[in-house]
């Protein structure tokens, strides 16, 4: 019995605004508890919400970047339920008239590009934070996060595997970061993901019973949890057991999904239109204006790298993964028009150094100027590529002029023909047997002499020009 998985993802992304969605409190992570709070986001009696214009702008940009239709009129609604981190006893969100609908993201699969449709995007407010681990008898609440602007992005159940889910989330995150809407920091909770999972017989059009898996806040956990849950569904179906429609949490230690304990009856949220806010009206002109704020997206950039800069698709893909890296690459190319060499250096060496030092490119001391200067020296033949790669690692600690470092470390390639010829003649005189082999017509012995020269010069030769010299000397010897 072959089964296929049917997955839909609900992603909540915090918007990169300076202030919260309905009040002027700062939107910042990590502040001292309860210091970014006002009557509105604390839910004091008499407080009223006022919408942040920039939150709307960012939400519209996100919707456009995700190919959605942005609606000229959308409305806010109250979602009513009791929970300690929800100060008003209701969340202001959007219900039957969301900001945008009918979009999509493309992901790369083995069988080509696959479109994952997006059902809707809407604005809502975040809740406060419960801290459960401070004491066994009490929970503690910090309302700094209450009122932070969110967009909720709901996909259609077009995703068919944990890997596809991961790709979808990666692409979505990348796009949101690219257009400056969200900082994508999953550890800090700026991007959160829940999944709806069901399973059905391969080829069937019916939907199986769906369960929800919550708080999948890393790519690794996302894939593992989904694989786990899909397996659980299949196991239940194969043994003719019923799948309960419930909410599951992923236990990363035991690597299983477990039902959430507190799910008693399903909530009746009693949605009704928010009377304290008026309908959100966006003219076509305003929507267009927000669209202009969007920069080139990853897929477009990759296409340009491949077609115009002649990079390999694989290399281009790596570069566009992170907007900062892509920007850095483009900066280097502007300074030194050698896209392939630069790409290669970044991919093979720079990324490795960043990873091992656990810093981002914006925190790195090796600027585009220094990198391109280094690469230029290899083009000029003053140092070999291998030497450049060695020097590169030094640049993270050593801020001196590149030429100084080259000289001091003795990396400079010996270009002095006289010196080279002298060394070559010395080597030839030490190896008469090999010379004889060469004279007899053994061309491969050239390699031996090159090796000896390399040893003698401690690698400080430019192989191509040195080879010509060695050959000439051998011919004349």
């Amino acid at each position: 019995m072959k089964y296929e998985a049917v997955i839909g993802l609900e992603v909540h992304a915090q918007l990169k605004t300076k202030t919260k969605i309905f009040c002027g409190c700062p939107n910042e992570f990590g502040a001292l508890p309860n210091t970014n709070v006002c009557p509105v986001c604390l839910g004091l009696p008499g407080a009223l919400p006022v919408l942040n214009r920039y939150a709307v702008e960012l939400a519209v940009r996100a919707a456009l970047a995700l190919n959605c239709k942005v609606h000229n009129e959308s409305r806010f609604a109250r979602k009513n339920y009791f929970y300690p981190d929800l100060p008003k006893g209701y969340q202001i969100t959007q219900y039957d008239k969301p900001l945008a609908t009918d979009g999509y993201i493309e992901i790369e699969t083995d069988s080509g590009l696959k479109k994952i449709r997006i059902m809707r995007i809407h604005l809502e407010e975040d809740a406060g934070k419960d801290l459960h681990d401070i004491s066994p008898d009490h929970s503690y609440i910090d309302f700094n996060r209450s009122g932070v602007p969110l967009i909720e992005i709901v996909s259609m159940p077009d995703i068919s595997s944990p890997e596809e889910a991961s790709k979808y989330l990666k692409n979505l995150r990348n796009i949101l970061m690219y257009i400056g809407v969200c900082d994508g920091n999953m550890e800090e909770g700026s991007l959160r993901c829940d999944a709806n999972v069901s399973v059905r017989r391969a080829g069937s059009n019916e939907f199986g019973v769906k369960t929800e898996v919550k708080n999948l806040n890393s790519f690794k956990f996302l894939e593992k949890a989904l694989a786990c849950e899909i397996e659980r569904h299949i196991r239940l179906l194969e043994s003719n057991q019923k799948i309960e429609q419930q909410t599951m949490l992923y236990d990363s230690k035991e690597q299983v999904t477990r039902p959430m304990r507190s799910k008693e009856e399903s909530h009746d949220y009693r949605y009704f239109e928010e009377p304290d806010l008026l309908p959100l009206i966006l003219t076509d002109a305003e929507i267009r204006a927000y669209a202009e704020g969007i920069c080139e997206l990853p897929q477009q950039k990759k296409k340009r790298y491949v077609e115009e800069l002649r990079l390999k698709a694989y290399d281009a893909e790596i570069l566009v993964q992170d907007k900062e890296i892509a920007d850095f690459f483009e900066e280097c190319v502007a300074l030194l028009n050698e896209p392939e060499r630069i790409a290669s250096f970044i991919i093979n060496d720079y990324l490795r150094e960043l990873n091992s030092r656990k810093i981002s490119i914006s925190q790195s001391p090796v600027t585009s100027h220094r990198l391109t200067a280094l690469i230029k020296r290899t083009i000029e033949g003053r140092i070999t590529l291998n030497m450049a790669r060695e020097i590169f690692t030094l640049l993270f600690e050593d801020s001196r002029d590149i030429d100084e470092i080259i000289k001091e470390r003795g990396y400079e390639v010996v270009n002095d023909t006289e010196e080279l010829v002298k060394s070559i003649r010395e080597i030839i005189s030490l190896h008469p047997a090999e010379l004889a082999k060469y004279k007899k017509g053994n061309m491969n012995i050239l390699g031996f002499f090159m090796g000896e020269l390399m040893k003698k010069m401690k690698g400080r030769i430019d192989p191509r020009s040195a080879k010509d010299l060695v050959k000439r000397e051998l011919d004349n010897a």
């Binding site: 004091l44 009696p45 008499g46 006022v50 009513n80 100060p87 008003k88 304290d276």
Partner: protein, 489 residues
Amino acid sequence: MDISKLGIFEIKNLLLKRKICCVELTKLYLERAHKLNPILNAFITIADESAILDARRSDENIQKNIDSIRPLEGVPIAIKDIFVTQNLRTTCGSKILANFIPPYDATVVKRLKDSGAVIFGKLNMDEFAMGSSNENSYFGPVKNPFSPDRTPGGSSGGSAAAVAAGLTPASIGTDTGGSIRQPAAFCGIIGMKPSYGRVSRYGMIAFASSLDQAGPMCRSVRDCAILLESIAGNDPKDSTTMTTPVPHYSEWLAGDPSDIRLGVLKEGYYEGINPEVLKAYLRVVELFAKHNVPIVEIELPHIKYAVAVYYIIATSEASSNLARYDGVRYGHRSEDYRNLKDMYKKTRMEGFGDEVKRRILLGTFALSSGYYDAFFRKASQVRRLIANDFYRAFSKVTTILMPVTPDVAFRLGERVSDPLSMYLSDIFTIPVNLAGLPSISMPAGLNRDNLPIGVQFIGKPFDEHSLLNVAAFYERESSCMEILSRVSL
């Protein structure tokens, strides 16, 4: 000095002419409040200390020079305990907020303070503005100054009683389904509910968000205009306030009847109301007719559904607005609970009175799954029909005249066990809130038991200035405010 008959306009005169200083005047009001509160129970909080400080500041301003004198400089005023006042206890008439000290001021409060007013007390009210008799207050009922065994009306009962009895020259109340106009009618004073969106609701503890509105309660139409001027206008903290400019309402008191076209309902509509109320209302119609004001019959075909519509919409919004009272961040928290859910339930059970619980449950029901369409949505549709009826009527008339209540002030304890009959007494005030219109309630004489009767003038949205003109005309021609000379406390 006898302060018991003073209004804002007279006080301004006294202060500017230095007949009395602000501190002295405030002290007189504070003394009077302390003396008479045991009888009327109009005050929940009397703010002796902060009032004297504010009064002192006003005295300094008056000493300095004419330029620094603000429109309400040194005028003592007590307001309904529904407006949050920074560092001054605000209870909303409820146990659940009995010790709540707000860290911020309502916009209405801020504007009064910025105009120089001296806020010296918070007035009693029905809990969370839910009630028509001020018998639903955790702090006990308020007595009607015209007759102590009668209710003053509600929910702004404390405000109405205090103004009528001269414990405060004027007050600011709130009106969701009649809560300014009905107590004003029961207590023989003037009460105005402005258009929805005219006055900020920021800091006004919410009952029904799409209906609540703050307004002046006074002894003269001029005082009404002065107060409305200082509190009206767009507030960036309240998305539902309009940017329509605020006219100089004090300039609209000529009382010129020439452009008035008065709309009235068929008399048959008032079948069953107290005959004395009907008689008083008809006398008012006659007064306007005598001055050649055209009296035009209008129809409001859906008005009979107004109470049902109101009690669905208002309670639904209230059930959501009152969810924040959960004992987590402020207010009463039960001392005896086993877990979080228990804490919520016990806190709310202990903290809320019966009427509040009743309305929360009714509202929760009307929004709940399976009932939302038949109740909340349907009511909202009928609401539009009621509003449209009014807009249609206003194409033929400038002002509509109606009674305020079907009866005069009832006895304390008379209606508490029958909530539906209590709701039905709001039948003339509720439609106005549903349509968001401005309305002003004016005294129209006494019944044979010397209990006040009121009538209301209803205007088009944001037409408060025309309404004040009509009211000024009526006040002058009827001498209706003489009724307050009957109160001697």
